[in-house]
């Protein structure tokens, strides 16, 4: 089997990403996103298993709306499905698809999975509070010179650099 290919030059990949975002602005008048798709998916699941509870929750009620169409029939869930396909194609072409856990050699798989879970949880809480994540706020709002997005983006880097030292053991 041939080796994995090296990653693309970051500036070229950035241009590809930027043109993708520009296409979204021009075609539909909105940018990229990700975290909102998870909120929509949860609203859909909860709307199915506990409809009373979902409708009485103000956060999910926003995704359910008047109930005439599924929370999944919207921009972000379809875009995120596409992301899975696109990333899989790219990974396949570069022989980078492999079932594995990324971690340092001295860390157990369980510990790393626990850290990933905790990080995902924190991230989701932050994204919900900020009304967007690295895609919907930092990238999209960054390109549109959105005031709140720029404040958000600076704080993402500040928060990450502030604690990076304390979680470096995951990679050693």
């Amino acid at each position: 089997m041939k080796d994995r290919q090296p990653y693309m030059n970051p500036y070229l990949a950035g241009i590809g990403l930027g043109l993708t975002m520009l296409a979204a602005f021009v075609l539909v008048g909105r940018g990229l996103g990700a975290s909102g798709a998870f909120s929509a998916a949860l609203a859909w699941v909860l709307g199915g298993v506990a409809p009373e509870h979902a409708r009485s929750n103000e956060f999910f009620a926003g995704y359910i709306g008047d109930g005439t169409h599924s929370p999944l029939m919207s921009w972000l869930p379809f875009e995120v499905l596409g992301m899975l396909v696109g990333a899989f194609i790219s990974g396949l072409l570069a022989r980078r698809v492999e079932v594995t856990t990324e971690k340092g050699p001295h860390v157990s798989v369980g510990t790393r999975l626990g850290m990933a879970f905790a990080g995902g949880g924190l991230m989701a809480f932050g994204a919900a509070l900020a009304r967007g994540c690295t895609s919907g706020q930092a990238l999209t709002g960054g390109a549109l010179l959105n005031l709140g997005s720029w404040a958000f983006m600076l704080m993402v880097f500040a928060g990450a650099y502030a604690v990076a030292y304390f979680v470096r053991w995951q990679w050693r």
Partner: protein
């Protein structure tokens, strides 16, 4: 008259077709993220250990590319920027949310978009991260009655940096381009300085 953008807003196609567009845009988004190496937590967090600043380079190249594109198209009269959706600004919750998200990024190794690239290429830590996203979102929704007050503090509406400071749009665009170029140069210096410590984490 020339065809105006955003095409959806001017009725070139309808909402159902826009979902197909969403899927195709998503394919491209995921493709470029994986190309850049952003399906790998190790690659992503290297940004915060300063030995590989690809996250900054990709993000700011993408921001500058799309920003110059919308600026040009809007200046040429082909794109009505007022019809492009802006997430409303609430500075305090966005500052705190950004901090919390940044911590989650370096603890977990991904953000929501990149975790999709990780899952698609078989990373189990990406899958655990997605489970965390679902748990965190559920926690936020259940806590919403208590966080709602802070979530809605200081509404400034859909506002841009030029709009809020009074600086001309073009001046802010130019400043962002200069900042990005300076950042790219600084990133190359930092990478050279911290390249040695990259070896030990392998």
């Amino acid at each position: 008259m020339a065809m105006m953008a955003p095409f959806l807003k001017f009725g070139a196609f309808g909402e159902p077709a826009s979902l197909v567009v969403a899927f195709i845009i998503g394919i491209s988004f995921g493709f470029w993220l994986e190309r850049a190496g952003f399906g790998s937590a190790r690659k992503l967090v290297s940004q915060f250990y300063l030995n590989d600043l690809a996250v900054f380079k990709v993000m700011f190249t993408a921001i500058v590319t799309a920003m110059l594109g919308v600026t040009y198209l809007s200046w040429a009269g082909w794109l009505d920027l007022s019809l492009v959706y802006l997430v409303p600004t609430y500075l305090a919750p966005q500052v705190v949310g950004g901090l919390v998200l940044g911590v989650g990024f370096v603890v977990g190794g991904y953000c929501p978009g990149t975790s999709m690239a990780a899952v698609a290429t078989g990373r189990l830590d990406g899958l655990a991260y997605v489970a965390g996203i679902l748990a965190g979102t559920l926690a936020f929704a259940e806590a919403f009655p208590w966080v709602k007050g802070f979530y809605n503090v200081g509404p400034l509406g859909a506002v841009t940096i030029p709009g809020s400071t009074g600086l001309p749009y073009g001046v802010v665009v130019f400043a962002v381009v200069l900042m990005a170029l300076g950042g790219f140069y600084g990133a190359s210096l930092l990478e050279r300085r911290f390249a040695a410590s990259a070896g030990e984490s392998r």
